[in-house]
């Protein structure tokens, strides 16, 4: 079982995930790839073999008003191949999560078109890096628009219109308030799209009252043979939040304590929650899978959980 984390590196200051300069400074995918190469070397040193790349790796690459950025992927063929080769040599499993602004099932055709273009760009990057089928593009169903059946139907329709470069890598994740595991299962049955089980989303939105291990099993079985599934895990935040409250009559702000919400992500994964869930799941599930930790501690949380599991449940980590 690989443990990975998304995008931002916290364990080594100064490692940027992508070129985040504004358009006026002409950011470029090649600069992002230089940063990415530095991150890959760091991951190798820490023996972290799963990582989600920044969705903005190629800045403004599909921005409708900025055509000057649209050819970055073609311009970086050699650089993408080089950094992809480094990932393959390091046995690093990579992925993207499409930006939250990507809504494939949008009612607005323009938004849907834009989302499709974004998915294509991300798919082309993975292809140009020469990565295998385990390098996937994660997305959500999108909007509900008051009609679940139509929303799911529109996703299926748009999925089928996507080019092969996207369809062979796109995977679908359950979310925490609109589309549950049975919803995405319906999409899988019509399209074959693999499903990503998200533990925290499942715990927050499980209207059918499914058993967690069985929901996990449904998702794992949706993956094609020979491609190791991946899932997302996060513990809910339990610590108090401090928010700046603005008084209505004047502009002054004052700190206020707020209770955490169950949808919020914790800084670190609760090792006992992790062990309890996956130990139980093992009684139902017979497939190997990798885990993307979606907690705020990023790589530090991966290192910590790895230490915790080594101590408390070495059998879960496997090799």
């Amino acid at each position: 079982m690989l443990l990975g984390f998304p995008v931002k590196v916290l364990g080594q200051p100064g490692l940027k995930s992508h070129d985040n300069r504004r358009w006026q400074s002409r950011p470029h995918l090649s600069v992002s790839l230089a940063y990415l190469r530095d991150i890959f070397l760091y991951l190798k040193r820490q023996d972290i073999r799963m990582y989600r790349m920044a969705a903005d790796l190629a800045p403004y690459v599909v921005h409708p008003d900025m055509p000057e950025f649209h050819s970055q992927i073609e311009e970086c063929t050699a650089e993408l191949a080089a950094v992809g080769e480094l990932a393959i040599e390091s046995n690093l499993r990579l992925s993207f999560h499409l930006p939250l602004t990507s809504v494939l099932n949008a009612q607005d055709e323009t938004i849907a078109q834009q989302s499709s273009q974004s998915a294509v760009a991300h798919g082309r990057i993975l292809e140009a890096m020469g990565l295998g089928p385990e390098a996937v593009l994660v997305t959500h169903v999108g909007g509900l628009y008051g009609d679940r059946k139509s929303a799911l139907g529109r996703f299926v329709e748009r999925f089928e219109r996507l080019p092969e470069v996207v369809r062979r890598r796109l995977v679908l994740e359950n979310d925490d308030k609109r589309f549950s595991v049975p919803d995405i299962q319906r999409v899988h049955e019509r399209t074959g799209i693999p499903l990503v089980f998200d533990y925290l989303h499942f715990r927050n939105f499980n209207p059918q009252g499914l058993d967690g291990a069985q929901a996990l099993d449904v998702c794992l079985r949706s993956w094609p043979p020979g491609v190791k599934p991946k899932i997302h895990f996060s513990s809910p935040r339990t610590a108090m939040r401090i928010v700046q409250h603005r008084a209505s009559r004047n502009r002054s702000t004052s700190p206020q304590l707020r209770a955490p919400r169950p949808t919020q992500h914790a800084d670190f994964a609760d090792p006992f929650q992790f062990m309890d869930f996956f130990s139980k799941a093992r009684q139902v599930v017979d497939q190997e899978f990798d885990v993307m930790l979606e907690v705020k501690g990023k790589d530090l949380a991966v290192l910590r959980l790895r230490e915790d599991l080594t101590r408390f449940a070495p059998n879960l980590l496997g090799d």
Binding site: L10, G11, Q12, P13, G14, L15, K16, D19, R21, R22, S25, R26, H28, S30, V31, S32, L33, A34, Y35, L36, R37, D38, L41, Y42, R45, Q46, E75, A78, E79, A82, G297, L300, L303, R304, E307
Partner: protein, 255 residues
């Protein structure tokens, strides 16, 4: 063009300080707008928003200092023969290089000198540090405790060298702070300090062999983060005492 100061959004921009050791390469950076780094032996951090250049002894007036920097436009990975086509028979003609394309060179308002003769390779830093640095040792971004000790040295007029490189039997390693005294040398090694508190993160640098250092005539002092953080820490007095036993820290050489 002299630099007045970093724009607000630029302050945390990443800078890679690279070595410029020939007039020809400088002309290529200034007139051609590029710099190259061998791909296979590139430093662990090559990504940056800006490149700055440490100029070696060949540059006369500008030698042994960082004087220029430039914004990075893009990186290319190319064989050397594509970058330098007029040297097709070079033994490394087929080797891959990063060709880093840069904008116009900007001259820093103040040079950033290296006061001592030491090996400089690549230094990853930030634009804010680059524009504020008074000397090369100000460029390194260290942990909180490392920075704290560096400030204490500066405030007490102790001329230390940060991240001092040593080579021992083909193995490179660095010591966190080196003091050069009249009768000896003091190595200060910080142990167990990590960028984040409470989380063990594997240190990335090769570990120092204290026996080797001692055998080479260094007095070795080791401090943990806890010792450095303690109020009224004894670390600084201990450093001063060690330097006194070695005859006192030599004044910074004027070059």
């Amino acid at each position: 063009m002299a630099e007045a100061g970093a724009k607000h959004g630029d302050r945390t921009a990443r800078v890679l300080v690279a070595v410029m050791n020939s007039e020809r390469d400088f002309a290529m950076a200034r007139d051609g707008g590029w710099y190259r780094i061998p791909y296979e032996s590139a430093p662990s951090r090559v990504g940056a928003d800006y490149l700055a250049f440490y100029q070696t002894r060949v540059f006369e007036e500008d030698r042994w200092a960082v004087n220029y920097y430039a914004p990075v436009k893009r990186y290319r990975v190319l064989p050397r023969r594509s970058i330098i086509p007029f040297e097709p028979d070079h033994p490394r003609a087929d080797a891959l290089y990063y060709k880093i394309e840069i904008g116009p060179l900007r001259r820093l308002q103040h040079s950033i000198p290296s006061h001592r003769l030491r090996r400089i390779t690549f230094i990853p830093t930030t634009l804010e540090r680059l524009l504020r640095a008074k000397e090369i040792n100000d460029l390194w971004c260290g942990s909180r405790h490392e920075e704290q000790l560096w400030r204490a040295f500066k405030n007490n007029g102790i001329g230390a060298e940060r991240r001092y490189p040593l080579r021992e039997e083909e193995e490179d390693y660095t010591i966190d702070f080196a003091l050069f005294c009249k009768e000896g040398k003091v190595a200060i090694c910080l142990e167990g300090h990590s960028p984040m508190e409470n989380v063990h993160v594997v240190r990335e640098r090769g570990s120092v062999d204290y026996y080797d250092l001692a055998a080479k005539g260094w007095t070795v002092l080791r401090f943990s983060a806890r010792e450095l953080a303690r109020p009224g820490s004894f670390c600084l007095p201990e450093v001063i005492e060690a330097a006194r036993r070695e005859g006192g820290v030599l004044p910074v050489p004027f070059r």
